[in-house]
């Protein structure tokens, strides 16, 4: 019940295209869903996060879509750029605990 399933494992997108990464969770107690962006040699950094009281959150080219009934959430990267090439992790937690359950990660490559 603590798992977060993430797909796809890897993704190749043309520059300007849309990158979509999906996650699903099981524990209905989770109420905080962050996405982390991880470049090699750097620490994972928070990209965008959502709470289940909204169905969508947008920050620049990055959008989280959240489906509470299906227990799924996804990251959309619009107008994908080569600089977006990184590993993306979704996570789930109970807000305030900071105990993240991470997905397995998606390695995104955006072709120039």
């Amino acid at each position: 019940q603590q798992q977060v399933k993430q797909s796809p494992q890897s993704l190749i997108v043309q520059k300007g295209g849309i990158s979509i990464i999906n996650c699903a969770y099981e524990n209905t107690a989770f109420d905080y869903f962050p996405w982390y962006q991880h470049f090699p040699g750097k620490g994972p950094a928070l990209l965008i996060a959502i709470r289940p009281d909204v169905s969508e959150k947008k920050e620049g080219r990055f959008t989280i879509s959240f489906n509470k009934s299906a227990k799924q959430f996804s990251l959309h990267i619009m107008d994908s750029q080569p600089g977006d090439s990184a590993t993306y992790f979704c996570a789930a937690s109970v807000l305030g605990t900071y105990k993240y359950i991470f997905g397995t990660g998606t390695r995104l490559k955006v072709l120039a």
Partner: protein, 114 residues
């Protein structure tokens, strides 16, 4: 911009040896964490630390592991007798607390046990 720093970036050790991984969290943060990522696998929670004591630990965090905040700035993870399966990237993280939710991660310490 404040950041979490970790040392060493890479450590190679022999099985059975003790290892200490060090972290300097962001100065005004109150919550401290260790996560690890075995190569090719997901990032896993190890332990959380608040108010000078462990607040939660995972089943991975057995008696071979310990954490300490020996002074006002450092946060360490000690593995007493390393095993081959301890080879992983270890991430330190810190958080401000409350409902901010955001964890700030260090760059990681890669541990290789031979």
């Amino acid at each position: 911009e404040p950041e979490v720093t970790q040392t060493p970036s890479h450590q190679v050790t022999q099985m059975g040896q003790e290892v200490i991984l060090r972290c300097v969290p962001i100065s005004n943060h109150l919550y401290f964490y260790w996560y690890r990522q075995i190569l090719g696998q997901k990032v896993e929670f190890l332990v959380s630390f608040y108010n000078n004591e462990i607040s939660e630990k995972s089943e991975i965090f057995d008696d071979q592991f310990s954490v300490e905040r020996p002074d006002g700035s450092n946060f360490t993870l000690k593995i007493r007798s390393t095993k081959l399966e301890d080879s992983a990237m270890y991430f330190c993280a810190s958080g401000l607390g409350g409902l901010s939710g955001e964890l700030f991660f260090g760059e990681g310490s890669r541990l290789t046990v031979l």
